[in-house]
Symmetry: C2
Subunit: 233 residues, 2 copies
């Protein structure tokens, strides 16, 4: 009987984990499309990203419900419960990455509705976007395999994203000072870059939740070095 309940819990958990990965795949797609729309000025693609945001939101709501049902029906304890609680946290961050993708899409529409687009800094922003995509993929992979070895690297990549954001900021400031007519559009671009920087924060949160699931140790609010020590220890 006990074993039967355990198996049902495992099956329920497996179903919910595959829902999270589905949500993750959708969010990845949203990021790719948002950054592509921004870099190429494809405002139809931007519209599509904005329209698809509700699918991300709906998945968050559905997975929240699933998690509550699992807890109520299977009454998991200790490690199993920790996994369910961390799934609830993980999808909050995934949903907010989705929000940021929609924000980039809205900025894209604003940017290309204005004149004065001499396409500044999109190369750097694309690079930031690729870095964040890599972080998200690693976090999702860590989640899928309950594997923590990448956590330290993800934390370091988050620092790199922050540095690249400051570089973009400096370049945009130079750009604005050289031609004050570009200020308005440069600020839209700045917000798009900021949205990517925030995606990095959320991807890092997700990888920290995996560490907590696997190691039972809360590594939020620590350094990459401390995370690495925890993961290897």
């Amino acid at each position: 009987m006990q074993e039967h309940i355990f198996k049902q819990f495992d099956a329920d958990l497996e179903a919910v984990r595959s829902q999270v990965l589905k949500m993750g795949g959708l969010v990845e797609e949203q990021i790719i499309h948002a950054i592509d729309a921004l870099a190429t000025g494809n405002t139809e693609l931007a519209d599509q990203v904005i329209a698809n945001d509700h699918r991300v939101n709906a998945l968050e709501v559905a997975i929240d419900e699933d998690c509550s049902h699992i807890i109520a029906r299977r009454q998991p304890t200790a490690g199993d419960l920790r996994i369910v609680m961390m799934i609830v946290k993980t999808i909050t961050d995934l949903e907010r990455i989705g929000d940021e993708a929609a924000k980039i899409a809205r900025m894209t529409k604003l940017i290309y509705s204005k004149d004065a687009v001499s396409a500044p800094r999109f190369l750097e922003i694309k690079h930031m976007g690729n870095l964040v995509l890599e972080m998200l993929r690693k976090s999702l992979d860590a989640f899928a395999r309950l594997e923590v070895s990448s956590a330290g690297q993800i934390a370091r990549q988050d620092i790199q994203v922050d540095e690249e954001f400051r570089l973009v900021l400096r370049h945009l400031i130079t750009f604005m000072m050289e031609d004050p007519r570009t200020i308005s559009v440069a600020i839209d671009i700045l917000f798009a870059a900021k949205a990517i920087e925030r995606m990095g924060d959320h991807a890092k949160n997700m990888s920290e939740y995996v560490v907590y699931m696997v190691k039972g140790k809360d590594v939020r609010h620590t350094t990459p070095e401390e995370i690495e020590r925890e993961v290897l220890g």
Copy 2:
């Protein structure tokens, strides 16, 4: 025996709810100090806000643990479980409001380390800050009393905060165009204003979780009107 367990659950829940309110009080204080530091150039106060952020973080970690213990020990079902799950979501948003307060404090230090502070737009930013504080207090009050009547109003105030942010943005752009030497400091101020705008989003999330706790209806990703309909229905 059953009744005994119910009472223990109630006592545990009460303890955790008062911890959330304590965390809420600390976050309120952080906002007040951060905005005061920004408006007056009190960089010592800004340092204090930055130093206190870890207290907010520590409370989040502790309350997360408490919630897991309650679920594991008391095995609440349906409505009771929903309340615990929403507490876990609520403190994530509270922690991120704390992060935004620390961000304002860091921007304050940057702003006052530069020349060219002719104190633009701080009155408007203070007004935004007061509005967000009011939203947070209402959300915490709704949480404390499991009372949903303010949810529609909080959602509308969030729209007002967004509008005030766009006003600040427009004024800052004018300011930068008139004197391009102010661009760098104006962008720091813009990020501080953006941090306040985000606090509003988080306070709104918190009030939506209360609606979910009380009504069992997920009103995330809806309009103020839909929230009002749900709350009155």
